[in-house]
């Protein structure tokens, strides 16, 4: 599922979209908090994430589960080989107006750099016992050779993979 944008002479490096999605069972996050408490929270979530997930315990747990899903979705976008980024190097930052963005540090930031990822977009949701997140990244990298024809003219595909 790649979308190639721009004029052919601008596409020598290729621009591609990566998408990652993940779901987390909220009751499993509640169990982790019950079983491991602060050790679980501080090993997985940043101080900003912990402070931005407030409200009633059930609401807080659902918000944390959505953040875990966002971290895992981001890992799917970063495609690490071997060493996984620390969970805390993948931070969901909550804007005061309610929307969220991803902030990467350390190994996660290095992986994004390697893939030519300049920006990540994230969307979080939860309903019932399920929390979910989708992360979209725009990549510009010499490694991203997909979406280019042999003639150097980029193929333009829509999100369903059909030629446009």
């Amino acid at each position: 599922m790649y979308l190639v944008l721009g004029e052919p002479d601008q596409m020598s490096m290729g621009t591609a979209i990566r998408v990652g999605a993940d779901v987390v069972a909220i009751h499993q996050v509640a169990e982790s908090i019950d079983q491991f408490g602060t050790r679980y929270l501080e090993r997985v979530y940043t101080a900003h994430e912990l402070s931005s997930c407030g409200g009633a315990p059930a609401t807080r747990t659902a918000s944390l589960a959505a953040r875990f899903a966002a971290k895992e979705a981001t890992i799917k976008v970063l495609r690490p080989r071997g060493h996984q980024p620390d969970w805390r190097s993948l931070e969901v930052r909550r804007d005061p107006d309610g929307w969220c963005t991803m902030a990467l540090t350390g190994h996660a930031a290095a992986l994004a750099d390697q893939a030519g990822i300049g920006e990540l977009a994230v969307s979080l949701t939860h309903e019932g016992d399920v929390a979910a997140a989708v992360v979209v990244a725009l990549c510009q990298s010499e490694d991203e050779s997909v979406g280019q024809s042999g003639s150097g003219t980029p193929l333009v595909l829509d999100v369903f993979g059909r030629k446009g």
């Binding site: 169990e31 079983q35 050790r39 090993r43």
Partner: protein, 79 residues
Amino acid sequence: MEDTIRTILAEYGHLPVEVDKIRDDDDLFQAGMTSHASVNVMLALEDEFGIEFPEAMLHKSTFESVAAIRNALGDLIDS
């Protein structure tokens, strides 16, 4: 050590199959263990063996099988 690893996997791994039916080299993620469950497995192993997995060992491969966990614990306990 292997029995303890299997006990922890049974309690925290949320595996859809019985741990007894998993062979040493079977891929636990292929068997249904989620990334979130692997965090719980890691924390439970730390509690049980009195160790802490350093960031450098936070490979998915560290927790991908009973044998891999045993090897990782061996390295940590010996160091």
